[in-house]
Symmetry: C2
Subunit: 420 residues, 2 copies
């Protein structure tokens, strides 16, 4: 059983490393990232051997094929992770940016400057590529990465962190810039969540259970990511061809991710025209429709059409399922989304500026898409070059998080003997 | 005993009010703030009568004179609170500001827009003026205020919120824009801290015990404010007259507040010249010096000079006490501050650009003052026009918090049928 002392000792080393990372120049950090990329490729054989131990244990434990696939590394996946590090090296350094700057009437110069957060704890599941991703993004933003992967990827993660840490040290950075939290038991996570003062923020990346556990039990500040019960609203003034295309893309292009749509809301004045055809299209892609009574009368019946319950309105299916409801106004669509949504992404299809303005100003979501697919809420699509996750909380960061969201700020105030 | 159901019912009304407040224009909010100011002055007599009940109860309970003074209202203090609301009406509206905006290569227009947080819970002690302050700042930033004052100010706060809420309703805003959390027992606070999903953020304003309780037990995100163990470092290259003036101002001008200095660090090469004279000055203002052995040999001895222990280095005295230590370098000063400080404000007095750069880049504090008093870390001094508190955490807001720190952001993405 992992002890609190073990976790705190490692976190204290992360804190010391963070103090050394904060003042580094972009050139120093980028050189280390490139060295880490090269080291990763050079160490492929030993990383793959460690990964094979995890895969063997996973097969013995009867892990599902999908889980095993997410766990599996290959030369190609390692090359992809290394390329990811090189890409991060190519991004601008957020640290040192003057966010606000002005001179006060008394002559004091005030500068609000971007600085690292310090120690970033990341708790995640299964995929070992998150280990490399997270380490790279933390390092680029001047933060020490304190990583807690899943037990099933233990050997892979240990090998990866060993390679990254050694490469960082060779490049003149503290070896503790990237560390694993000791232990793979529950206590290991618990102690990390209690390490306030040593760890500055925890970002959980994984399923709803993991995220809820961290949000409810951490006394270290948390950035909540990931849950997305997204909506597409087809307005009375929608171009119905566009509406069909956006609905299909939002649902079908990649149903397993958080920015996929889970509910379709259709204005009653276009429901009769729209629902029969889009219903057939969705059925054609294997989508099961969970319909309210009004929609039931309009979409094709059959095994892929079932009645919706309240549970459907609040479910993030992450699968080829879509809840469908007919609404009588923008306000009813807004009320539905406010009641049942998770505040991730909602799309409106409309050419009516008043409807668009009302929809976008009355919602309370991280992103509103106007005549665009919900699938665009994504750090890569937004041009961030990298994404730590998609925050669904309102504090600190909301929506896709890039490197600037991995920072805090500090005020530098310069005077000439100023006193009050 | 206040039940969870009671608190959640009130919080749910705050959430509904927040939905109505979010899309309001600046003109609508300012009109309500001015109406609230007028209503407050008009209701002086009833507010003072309610305050008298709190004061009588406080006297019966043997409250200290200082506490009673902080609790006491007067015509003048009510006029001051009303003026505060008018001042807030005069500030720019943070809501709707486009924080970032750009067009992607595919033609999607991305706008990151400032939006309200939603429901802001504020837990505070004693002074009823915080009730009006907090309500005004929340309303201006489009947030619903859910206030939990102290039991000792219960009648005053109830009267004040009654007046504000009625005035808001008359101005066409939801009456629930400003509410008190029901109850004044421990359970009332506990249930507020568990109301995740209804309350978006909790800001504790008060003593260290209150803040620790909220930080450790809230599952609603918290913005931590208030603790300040601030340092003044007098460098080898300091103008010693300036150093004395900044030291005196940082310690003596208002010792009870969080941006007052608690520790003086002096470079050994100037200690012999500086400490005898500044020690005499500090003694002359009644400051007790808690000194390390090197400083002990240099400051005037007597009843106001006592030996320092490790406890002194980490204590926020909030009184006419100052810990004093001689250090041999900037790095030793930085190491001392990183080890013992609270990350609030540190000042350096120096004319050496290298020392200043090293000091400011190696610390991990909300504010660094270069040749200026620690007392300038303040929303009013920074020109914010209003201050919710001074955040000592790194997430969301750091340092003095003005109206923009009471907001979140939301992405509005506009396309023309864009799909992935």
């Amino acid at each position: 059983m992992t002890t609190e002392q073990e976790v705190r000792a490692v976190a204290a080393r992360s804190k010391e490393a963070a103090a050394e990372l904060a003042p580094l120049s972009r050139a120093e950090k980028d050189a280390a990232l490139l060295a880490m990329a090269d080291a990763l490729v050079a160490a492929s054989a030993s990383v793959l051997a460690a990964n094979e131990r995890d895969l063997a244990a996973g097969r013995d434990a009867g892990l599902a094929a999908g889980m095993l696939d997410r766990l599996a590394l290959s030369e190609e996946r390692i090359a992809g992770m290394a390329q990811g590090l090189r890409d991060v090296a190519g991004l601008p350094d957020p640290i040192g940016e003057v966010v606000r700057g002005y001179t006060l009437p008394n002559g004091l110069e005030v500068r609000q400057i971007r600085v690292p957060l310090g120690v970033v704890g990341i708790i995640y599941e299964a995929r070992p590529n998150v280990t490399v991703d997270a380490a790279g993004l933390c390092l680029k933003s001047g933060n020490a990465a304190l990583l807690r992967g899943s037990a099933s990827a233990y050997h892979s993660n240990t090998a990866l962190v060993g390679v990254l840490s050694e490469a960082a040290a060779k490049a003149g950075l503290p070896a503790d810039a990237v560390q694993l939290v000791p232990g793979v038991d529950r206590e290991s996570v618990t102690h990390l969540m209690r390490a306030r003062g040593l760890v500055d923020v925890i970002i959980p990346r994984g399923g709803a259970g993991l995220i809820r556990n961290v949000v409810e039990n951490s006394i270290v500040p948390v950035i909540e990511t990931g849950v997305g019960n997204c909506h597409v609203y087809v307005d009375a003034a929608a171009d119905l061809e566009m509406a069909a295309s956006i609905t299909m893309n939002s649902k079908v292009q990649r149903p397993s991710v958080c920015n996929a749509a889970e509910t379709l809301l259709v204005h009653s004045s276009v429901a009769e025209t729209f629902l029969p055809s889009v219903g057939a299209l969705l059925h054609g892609s294997g989508v099961t429709l969970h319909v309210d009574p009004a929609a039931a009368a309009l979409v094709p019946s059959g095994p892929l059409t079932v009645p919706a319950t309240d549970e459907d309105w609040e479910t993030e299916y992450n699968s080829l399922d879509l809840a469908v409801r007919v609404v009588s106004s923008v306000d009813e669509a807004v009320a539905h989304i406010r009641r049942w949504g998770s505040g991730h992404t909602e799309a409106i299809v409309s050419s009516d500026t008043r409807a668009i303005r009302r929809f976008s100003s009355r919602l309370d979501s991280a992103a509103v898409m106007v005549n665009a697919s919900t699938r665009f809420t994504d750090g890569g699509e937004f041009g961030f070059g990298a994404e730590i996750g998609i925050s669904t909380q309102k504090l600190h960061a909301r929506g896709p998080m890039g490197l600037p969201e991995m920072t805090s700020t500090s005020y530098l105030v310069t005077g000439d003997g100023h006193v009050r």
